[in-house]
């Protein structure tokens, strides 16, 4: 696995920060927020190692490529040997929008001819995924999913399908997005952004915080991993996507699309609701999302709901949009592998109406860490759920 997050460059920094339970959400410099309604975000710190040459790569592309390189190195994968059977499935909601905004600024201030065309070269949703495929030299199926906040999870789900079908032996799956004014002002226009760091599942939650970064998983068929003597970190056991078909920007209040997605993903993984040991929730911190998500969890887990630990990675590093599902997938895998659930910051009182066992302040050790789910619930009513199981269980 690989990750670039507001906690830093690398999976170790992500997990170290997540365990500490202190949010990386604060004042930021990616753009000037003076005229925006809110002034906080979770920004990726500058690289502390030699990165990719920036030429024609957007910031989102660079997050993606760094994460992919880390993931491939960690997997000990000699990719050139397997390039024909290696694909890339990647989520991004904004691609190189940040750089496109610089282009617009130059265009507005100084006229068309002074705006450097290089700024929009990679302003495409497929920028990060293509950059990864190019960097690792993949010859297989490459596909970018841009289904807003569920993009990363959907990309991982699509990779699972391709591996099961036998189209590929190896897939790099994940997502990447950088902060930009478009999404920042857009979520603010919807009054979805909290003025203080987001407090998912808390009584006084007022909205989400935005973040940036990338996450990548190296997925392989079990047979391929075995052949090359690799040790799996976890099993991606199931996935599903559904749609609320209800409203463009609000979830169905009863979470029917989400509960449907959880049930289908569990069935796809051949596990039942009783097998789930923790939930890495979508947990944006908006009043509507968290209520709908709690309703969905209750519909699936019934009386067990109050005793399943629930956490939201977004409470620590903000909402990473197209890469949220990917980075949260990384955190779900780490939770299973290390038998603990990372906490959310201990700020604000739990919302008793939600009836969830939310993990606050310090990591929760698990007596059983066999199975976990990660949920992503997006704009347009699109839902995606991933089911991971412990590697030894396979």
């Amino acid at each position: 696995m690989g990750a670039v997050t507001p906690f830093g460059w690398g999976v170790d920094k992500l997990w170290e920060g997540a365990r500490r339970g202190i949010a990386a959400i604060g004042p930021f410099t990616r753009f000037d927020s003076t005229r925006h309604r809110t002034h906080l975000a979770a920004q990726v710190p500058p690289e502390d190692h030699r990165g990719e040459p920036a030429r024609r790569l957007s910031l989102a592309d660079r997050f993606a490529v760094a994460s992919a390189r880390e993931a491939v190195a960690a997997a000990g994968l000699d990719l050139p040997r397997f390039r024909e059977a290696t694909g890339v499935f990647f989520g991004s909601s904004a691609g190189g929008m940040l750089e496109a905004e610089w282009f617009f600024e130059a265009h507005i201030e100084r006229g068309a001819r002074h705006a450097k065309r290089g700024l929009v070269a990679s302003q495409q949703f497929n920028g990060p995924g293509d950059a990864v495929a190019r960097a690792v030299g993949a010859y297989g199926h490459v596909e970018t999913v841009s289904s807003a906040c569920a993009s990363g999870a959907m990309a991982i789900g699509a990779a699972l399908r391709a591996l099961r079908r036998g189209d590929l032996d190896v897939a790099l799956a994940g997502g990447s997005d950088a902060l930009c004014q478009l999404t920042y002002a857009g979520f603010n226009a919807l009054r979805s952004v909290d003025e203080v760091p987001s407090r998912p599942f808390r009584k006084d939650r007022m909205g989400l915080s935005l973040g940036e970064g990338a996450g990548v998983l190296v997925l392989e068929t079990a047979a391929h991993a075995k052949r090359r003597g690799a040790t799996p970190i976890a099993i991606l056991a199931g996935e599903s996507s559904t749609c609320d078909a209800h409203h463009m920007t609000a979830p169905h209040p009863d979470g029917v699309g989400a509960s449907d997605a959880i049930r289908l993903a569990l069935a796809d993984a051949s596990v039942g609701p009783d097998d789930v040991d923790f939930v890495n929730a979508h947990g944006t911190g908006t009043p509507l999302n968290d209520a709908a998500e709690a309703a969905a969890l209750k519909a699936v887990f019934g009386d067990r709901t109050h005793s399943i630990p629930v956490t939201s990675t977004k409470s620590l590093i903000g909402h990473l949009l197209g890469s949220a599902g990917a980075v949260e997938g990384v955190c779900t895998v780490l939770g299973l592998a290390r038998r603990e659930v990372h906490p959310m910051p201990d700020t604000g009182e739990r919302d008793p109406e939600l009836g969830l066992d939310v993990v606050l302040g310090r990591p929760r050790a698990l007596s059983r860490a066999a199975c976990a789910i990660s949920t992503s619930l997006a704009f347009g009513g699109a839902n995606a759920v991933l089911v991971f199981t412990r590697a030894e269980a396979a």
Partner: protein
């Protein structure tokens, strides 16, 4: 794995609404080009001037104005084309079917995106309109289609430029063949704005006039110098073959195979020269689906007049056929333009047996390419059609459509 078929087509493009104007345009072979608005000052003095723009169309049969008012152009195209496709499939009500929606878009709802960025940068972020934001996310069109149809299956938006429509077709076919959906609607939607057009031109992506030639996209032509940027939407209805038969619906085409690959030698927004591995990936996928190239009697190529794009397309086809002569190669992007899903709809009508005329823009074949576009002579109705689309950036996607 259930066999899956296309049972309906909805199409909106520069040629108009529905199948008949498309068939007429493909037979005529003339580019559907009209002048792009250059008044914003985005364009350089020496630049492309034409685009395959959708004229003002009456879509009220498919999209009441009250609904259209709240939608971006790509959302409007997609919802109207989806309803048209269902009507074409003879489906009045979806009942309790689980329906998947898989749409591709190269650039999303650009006009609203530009307006929103303009509001943010010029008028100030506080003036940003929520309506623009919720419609400018790439999956807005797919969300709109889901709401319009009540589609509660997978809802996926694929953004892989020119390869997107065929990747969406493949994903939707899998949703049905692997049993996760009873029915799927798949396709693509895009719009051309003056800014996109100017940007494509600044990267020398679009065709220009010059040296006594008119501005035109010339697929596989020796003097090709860029694409005709286009817009519109194509949507198909996909069902299991037995389910379509059970309701007595005639199938338009069976989706016999799909494939995808990547050419890492391609640069950002450009094509590479990795035809050999692309051809190997195509051959493997065709062999697995039991339809190797000897069984294919028509190619609908995504060749668009792009200098490098058409070269790698031709080299890939030639390598896949291993020196054997290719079947007739149709190049609809010379008529309907690049983006907007024209390739997908053209492939569907080609499989139905629509006649393709000689491309009016075609001058002389490129001696460096082993492929030339179909010369317009009458052809028998094909049995198996290979659809090919290589994207700038390196992605590639193919599909094989066969007559049921």
């Amino acid at each position: 794995m259930r066999a899956v078929v296309i049972t309906g087509l909805g199409v909106i493009g520069p040629q108009g609404v529905g199948r008949v104007p498309l068939q007429d345009a493909l037979l005529a072979g003339r580019p559907l080009a009209s002048p792009i608005d250059r008044s914003e000052g985005y364009h350089a003095a020496e630049s492309s001037r034409l685009a395959a723009l959708v004229p003002t169309l009456d879509l009220t049969r498919w999209l009441p104005p009250s609904e259209a008012r709240r939608m971006s152009v790509p959302s409007r195209f997609a919802v109207a084309a989806a309803r048209m496709a269902l009507a074409d499939a003879g489906i009045e009500s979806l009942g309790d079917r689980r329906v998947a929606v898989v749409l591709a878009s190269a650039f999303g709802a650009l006009l609203f995106t530009e307006k929103l960025i303009h509001q943010i940068l010029v008028d100030g972020p506080e003036s940003a309109q929520p309506f623009y934001f919720s419609e400018c996310v790439a999956n807005a069109a797919a969300g709109r289609v889901a709401i319009a149809l009540g589609a509660r299956g997978a809802n996926v938006t694929i953004t892989q430029r020119e390869a997107g429509p065929l990747l969406a077709l493949a994903r939707a076919a899998q949703e049905v063949s692997e049993g996760r959906a009873d029915l799927a609607v798949a396709g693509s939607t895009d719009e051309v704005t003056p800014l996109l057009h100017a940007m494509l031109d600044r990267f020398r992506g679009t065709a220009r006039a010059g040296m006594g030639r008119e501005e035109a996209a010339r697929p596989f032509d020796a003097s090709r110098d860029g694409v005709l940027a286009g817009e519109g939407a194509s949507v198909v209805v996909i069902e299991a073959e037995d389910a379509a038969a059970a309701r007595g619906a005639p199938a338009i085409a069976r989706i016999a195979a799909t494939a995808a690959a990547f050419d890492p030698t391609a640069g950002v927004s450009d094509w590479g020269d990795g035809a050999a591995p692309l051809a190997r990936a195509l051959e493997r996928a065709l062999a697995r689906a039991g339809c190797d190239v000897t069984t294919i009697d028509r190619v609908v190529s995504g060749a668009s007049g792009a200098r490098r794009g058409d070269r790698v397309e031709a080299a890939t086809l030639a390598a896949a056929w291993g020196g054997e002569p290719l079947p007739p190669v149709l190049t609809p992007k010379g008529v309907v333009g690049e983006f907007g899903g024209g390739l997908l709809a053209s492939a569907v009508v080609a499989t139905e047996g629509a006649a393709f005329g000689r491309l009016a823009s075609f001058g002389s074949r490129d001696p460096e390419l082993a492929v030339a576009p179909h010369d317009g002579r009458p052809l028998p109705v094909p049995r198996r059609v290979l659809v090919s689309s290589l994207a700038a950036g390196g992605a590639a996607a193919w599909a094989v459509l066969e007559r049921p």
